[in-house]
């Protein structure tokens, strides 16, 4: 069924467009303005054209932060997507267990991001943390998330998986619930194994929700700021300095507005490109599901 063709529908979108234009276009233009200037102080600036872009693109710390960011997002997706699907498959289909597991799983999602960082500091510190003390004293392995890059990364990944796997699980569970019972009955009659049921019925039916889960998880892990900021502060050294942390350091710490502006635009372009690819994939999935 085709949609109604009517250009007056534009009027319905005006409130959204005005609001988002106010909070997106004006600030973005300000960033463009910063990025072509060398700003010494209030009212003192020099037009430098593309100099800031050349400078930031050659900045080895930006390259490091970018690779770190891709590694982090890649690991997050590799761990959280399969784990989330497994949890969804293990969840009960009816009874009091449904409400209980839904509430329990959703809990980490509603905790403010800096509280997440605080929870994990309290949890992993070798002196006062349960996990930290357990690893150090019971297992006898010296562990301190502020000491080496490896330890910081392990802690950060644990926190990230703890925090966000629930989102994948909830989405996958919703996808599973939407599968009509007749599909399972048909599989049973055909004598399909659990794996075959998963591979040929559950997985294809979950494709839509899993793509959304992938998209949301990728975006939010790519933009991560508050949790590593609280937990490791980007350290030790620069080991957990991701793109957002580096950008905020440049903009507010060193007050290097020109460079930060150029960095912002490059960062934004990367995200939009990736977002466009994902969006195309999403649209493709939408069409596939309708056929």
């Amino acid at each position: 069924m085709d949609k109604w063709e009517n250009n007056r529908a534009w009027f319905l979108t005006i409130p959204v467009l005005v609001l988002v234009a106010f909070s997106a276009i004006i600030p973005l233009m300000t960033v463009v303005n910063y990025s072509v200037q060398d700003i010494f102080g209030p009212g003192q600036s020099l037009f430098v054209g593309t100099e800031m872009y050349t400078k930031i693109l050659r900045d080895p710390r930006l390259h490091d932060a970018l690779w770190r960011q891709f590694l982090f997002s890649g690991l997050v997706l590799l761990i959280e997507m399969p784990l989330g699907v497994l949890i969804a498959l293990a969840m009960p289909k009816k009874g009091w267990g449904v409400s209980f597991s839904l509430v329990a799983l959703a809990l980490p999602l509603l905790i403010p991001w800096n509280t997440i960082g605080s929870i994990w500091i309290i949890f992993v510190r070798p002196d006062i943390g349960l996990l930290g003390a357990f690893i150090n004293n019971v297992l006898g392995i010296p562990f301190d998330h502020t000491r080496t890059a490896g330890e910081a990364w392990i802690t950060l990944m644990l926190m990230e998986v703890w925090h966000w796997t629930s989102l994948v699980a909830l989405l996958a569970y919703a996808g599973l619930r939407a599968i009509p019972e007749v599909y399972y009955q048909a599989a049973k009659i055909d004598g399909a194994s659990a794996w075959a049921t998963f591979r040929y019925i559950q997985l294809p039916k979950m494709r839509g929700v899993l793509t959304i889960a992938l998209l949301l998880r990728f975006m939010d892990s790519f933009l991560i700021y508050a949790e590593p900021f609280v937990l490791t502060g980007g350290g030790p050294g620069n080991a957990t300095t991701f793109l957002s942390i580096y950008l905020v350091k440049l903009a507010t710490g060193q007050f290097d507005l020109g460079t930060a502006g150029a960095f912002s635009l490059i960062y934004f372009v990367i995200v939009i490109l990736l977002c466009f690819v994902f969006y195309q994939v999403l649209q493709g999935v939408g069409k596939g599901a309708k056929q």
């Binding site: 600030p27 973005l28 905790i111 006062i128 933009l223 700021y225 903009a251 912002s264």
Partner: protein
């Protein structure tokens, strides 16, 4: 047997979710000297001193009130502007509709750090700095696109014959929308409100940058536990526990709609 091992696995995972939260609750019921002295699995000598301090010191509890105010404002604004737009995207084809929809989504994906300084400048210029509405508007940057996206999914699930029948019966678009259509997608509105609440409540960067004293959110207030004499772990834990409470309440109220809502919508 297989079903049993699944359930055990699920219980272990849920146990692991609760473990760090339990540990923070444990810490919040102890004094700082006690925490730094010995490590015990449960508070031996529980005290509510940390909570009492938060509830009696206005610089602490006003943080919670400020956060609640701007989150509520944001949810209301997001829903109000997103409902008509989502209807337009779900029902009509118009010039540039796909491009506008994509452009909206890119804002959901904008790195917050990019907009930090411009937001600060923009809101200082128009004199909204350190007000609740400033934070609520800033959070619209990512919540409005999300709200449009989710609502559009729900609305597209309602057959268009319902609209046509209502129009033939003489309903005007606004009257149809308010009296028939919104009740039909109320679970979608609920899910959208849930997500707007969630992303506005957990956000730190904008909320911290756009406020100084009057509208300071609890997330900024929590940084006060770091002082010259070291961290006040007990107080930090108590403040953290209290930031979990509103989210937990929201989950409790929507628990029965959540699975259904997730399945119908796009998130």
């Amino acid at each position: 047997m297989k079903g049993k091992s699944k359930t055990i696995g699920l219980f272990i995972y849920i146990f692991l979710i609760f473990l760090p939260i339990y540990w923070m609750i444990n810490m919040s019921l102890r004094t700082n000297a006690d925490i730094l002295g010995t490590l015990t699995l449960y508070p031996v000598d529980p005290t509510f001193a940390n909570y009492i301090k938060i509830f009696t010191d206005s610089s602490w509890y006003s943080g919670y009130i400020n956060s609640m105010i701007y989150v509520t404002m944001n949810v209301l604004i997001s829903l109000t502007v997103a409902l008509p737009a989502a209807y337009a995207f779900s029902r009509y084809r118009f010039m540039g509709d796909k491009q506008v929809f994509f452009w909206l989504l890119t804002n959901r994906m904008a790195p917050g750090a990019v907009f930090l300084l411009p937001f600060f400048q923009l809101y200082s210029t128009i004199g909204l700095l350190d007000t609740h509405i400033a934070v609520a508007l800033a959070h619209c940057l990512f919540n409005v696109p999300l709200a449009v996206w989710i609502l559009e999914g729900f609305m597209s699930g309602i057959p268009r014959e319902i609209d046509e029948t209502a129009f033939i019966d003489g309903y005007s678009l606004p009257r149809f929308f308010v009296t028939i259509f919104i009740p039909l997608i109320r679970s979608g509105v609920g899910v959208t409100a849930f997500f707007c609440f969630m992303f506005s409540w957990v956000e730190l960067l904008f909320a911290r940058t756009l406020t100084i004293t009057n509208a300071k959110p609890i997330q900024s207030v929590m940084t006060r536990t770091i002082s010259a004499t070291g961290m006040d772990w007990g107080l930090l834990a108590a403040a953290g526990v209290l930031t979990i409470v509103p989210g937990a309440l929201v989950i409790w109220f929507v628990r029965n709609h959540m699975a259904k809502g997730f399945a119908l919508g796009r998130v």
